[in-house]
């Protein structure tokens, strides 16, 4: 005997049916709604397969493809089922602690608004954001919420007075891009002149 992974001792494995020959095959069975695995020798596996097919012919069950999996040679020091449970539990513990560490790391890396310090966790708790800049900080995460509540993710409402120049400029830029794409250069030139006139005019107040 030697110490295996996680301190569990590995040992040789016998057939779980006859307890005589060495286990070479694993059979997956469903007993009373619970899935079980049997590690059996070749003879017992053949017998089990014969019974299964006979039952299927009588209509008591359908043969399931891939029900049994033949493993020609089980690896040396194969761990038997009771020990396997302990191994699984130890693995789960290890994975759990790793996941916990990952969670803690994720919390540390929780998105934070650089302006007000509001975190995504703060938003999740209260449903309220901390400042206008939070919309940019959480943009990607907020999009789902916006789509769910409003169907849309962009505004169709009024534009504040001091921003109306900016809105006009954006509209002209959009139309100009469309005109260029449609190779309507005359229209594009006209829009460009309009845009330069806007720049030379009263100017657009840039706010927050």
């Amino acid at each position: 005997m030697e110490a295996g992974a996680f301190g569990i001792l590995a040992r040789e494995m016998k057939c779980e049916k006859c307890h005589k020959a060495e286990a070479e095959t694993v059979i997956h069975a469903n007993e009373n709604g619970r899935d079980r695995e049997y590690y059996v020798c070749k003879a017992c596996a053949a017998e089990s397969e014969r019974r299964r097919k006979a039952a299927a012919r009588k209509g008591r069950g359908k043969p399931r493809a891939g029900l049994s999996l033949t493993i020609n040679a089980l690896p040396e020091n194969m761990v038997p089922p009771p020990v396997l449970d302990a191994l699984m539990s130890a693995t789960a513990d290890l994975m759990g602690s790793l996941a916990g560490r990952a969670d803690a790391a994720a919390r540390k890396e929780d998105i934070k608004c650089k302006v007000c310090g509001h975190t995504w966790e703060d938003y999740s708790e209260s449903g309220l954001l901390g400042c206008p800049a939070c919309y940019h900080a959480f943009r990607e995460k907020l999009e789902d919420r916006l789509r769910k509540v409003h169907v849309a993710t962009s505004c169709g409402g009024k534009v504040p007075l001091h921003r109306s120049g900016e809105a006009v400029r954006k509209s002209i830029e959009k139309r100009m891009a469309e005109a260029v794409a449609a190779q309507d250069f005359e229209e594009a030139r006209r829009l460009r002149d309009q845009l330069s006139g806007l720049d030379g005019g009263d100017g657009v107040k840039e706010g927050e």
């Binding site: 954001l129 901390g130 206008p132 409003h150 962009s154 505004c155 409402g157 009024k158 504040p160």
Partner: protein
């Protein structure tokens, strides 16, 4: 062959008005100052100065006279009681709550009792107007005018893609909320309330009820508001909200017509039981009081109950504040005393009520 629509006999009951169904309407615009933290952050001690700066800025802008001569003054708001106050609290439109929450006095009111500009606990500015009845367009236009004047004096937080930025993403975009407080007892009686409200929810109309944020609140009084504020213009949102709630009011009127006609016995049973409870109760909770007043108010609006005017019943109903005693910090003994006082107040009114037994508008 010529087809003729079958001639329908005139309905024996008076046509109901939508105002019988709708207690009040209103509109509100939520705005925040650009580059300043939302009031949600004012609880942080280091943000107090920030709050005072924002508050001073708002009060200065709102305190100047408006082009039409309206003047807003800074006053200590009274705690609104009753159903209106309750729903205002649910919708974060209660200025008194904002004062308590922020431990400040950030409230400005016009001489008109139904017009407010105040800091709510989540956004810098709520510009609201409420009106009795069904008119939601008037208040919406009025708040738009007030907002436009304020936007010349204040720089609101706005984004070219998202529109006006509010502390809750649920009101971002236009920050526009239209609301109507409706009495839907008829739909409840005929068992179609839930289906109707589900239909509204599918149209993104938010439904708030007494006690429960669902479809079976006490008194079957609901506050409906538009749930969507992004992607459509203010006028489109208003038109959608109006159309949806008008359709609901029509469904309610049809339900009441059915109760008046073919389902008269259902109405009769409900109303008689409700009156009997009110006449004999010695203690009555807020929710039970709303539940018994609701069918009586509906029957009175249809002319089936006499003895008290609709205004009296409305006053009795809207005067009930559905907040639980525990929530108001009352001891169990104080709750019992309040229930007893409510019963004492309701009994004289109930004693005067009598279902009509003769004439066209009579109960079986």
């Amino acid at each position: 062959m010529k087809l003729h629509a079958p001639k329908r006999p005139p309905h024996p009951y008076p046509a109901l008005d939508v105002s019988d169904v709708c207690f009040m309407s209103g509109a509100c615009l939520l705005r925040n100052l650009a580059g300043r933290p939302f009031p949600t952050k004012y609880h942080d001690p280091d943000k107090e100065k920030e709050f005072q700066r924002a508050d001073g800025e708002i009060c200065k802008a709102a305190g100047e006279p408006f082009p039409d001569g309206t003047r807003f003054t800074r006053v200590q708001p009274p705690h609104p009681h009753g159903l209106v106050g309750y729903f205002a609290r649910l919708m974060h439109l209660n200025a008194a709550d904002a004062c308590d929450e922020l431990a400040m006095n950030p409230f400005v009111s016009s001489a008109t009792p139904f017009e407010f500009i105040f800091s709510c606990h989540s956004d810098h500015l709520a510009i609201a107007r409420i009106a009795p009845g069904t008119d939601v367009e008037g208040p919406a236009m009025r708040v738009a005018v007030l907002e436009e004047t304020l936007s010349r004096r204040l720089n609101f937080a706005w984004d070219s893609s998202l529109g006006f930025l509010t502390s809750s993403p649920d009101s971002v975009g236009t920050g526009f909320k239209a609301f109507r407080m409706m009495h839907l007892e008829g739909l409840h009686e005929i068992g179609e309330l839930e289906a109707s409200l589900h239909g509204l929810a599918a149209m993104r109309i938010k439904v708030r009820s007494v006690e429960l944020d669902g479809f079976n609140g006490a008194g079957h009084i609901f506050m409906l508001s538009n749930g969507r504020t992004l992607g459509l213009s203010e006028s489109e949102l208003l038109a959608g909200f109006q159309a949806a709630t008008d359709a609901l009011a029509e469904q309610e009127i049809n339900a009441r017509m059915r109760l008046a006609g073919e389902l008269n016995i259902v109405l009769s049973d409900t109303v008689r039981r409700a009156i009997a409870i009110m006449q004999n109760c010695r203690m009555i909770s807020t929710t039970e009081a709303l539940d018994v007043l609701s069918p009586v108010r509906m029957a009175a609006s249809m002319g089936f109950v006499s003895g008290a005017s609709l205004e009296e019943l409305d006053r009795a109903m809207l005067g009930i504040s559905p907040d639980s005693g525990e929530a108001a910090g009352m001891t169990p003994d104080e709750c019992d005393a309040a229930d007893a006082a409510r019963a004492t107040e309701l009994r004289p009114l109930a004693m005067r009520l009598a279902p009509n037994v003769r004439g066209r508008r009579s109960l079986q």
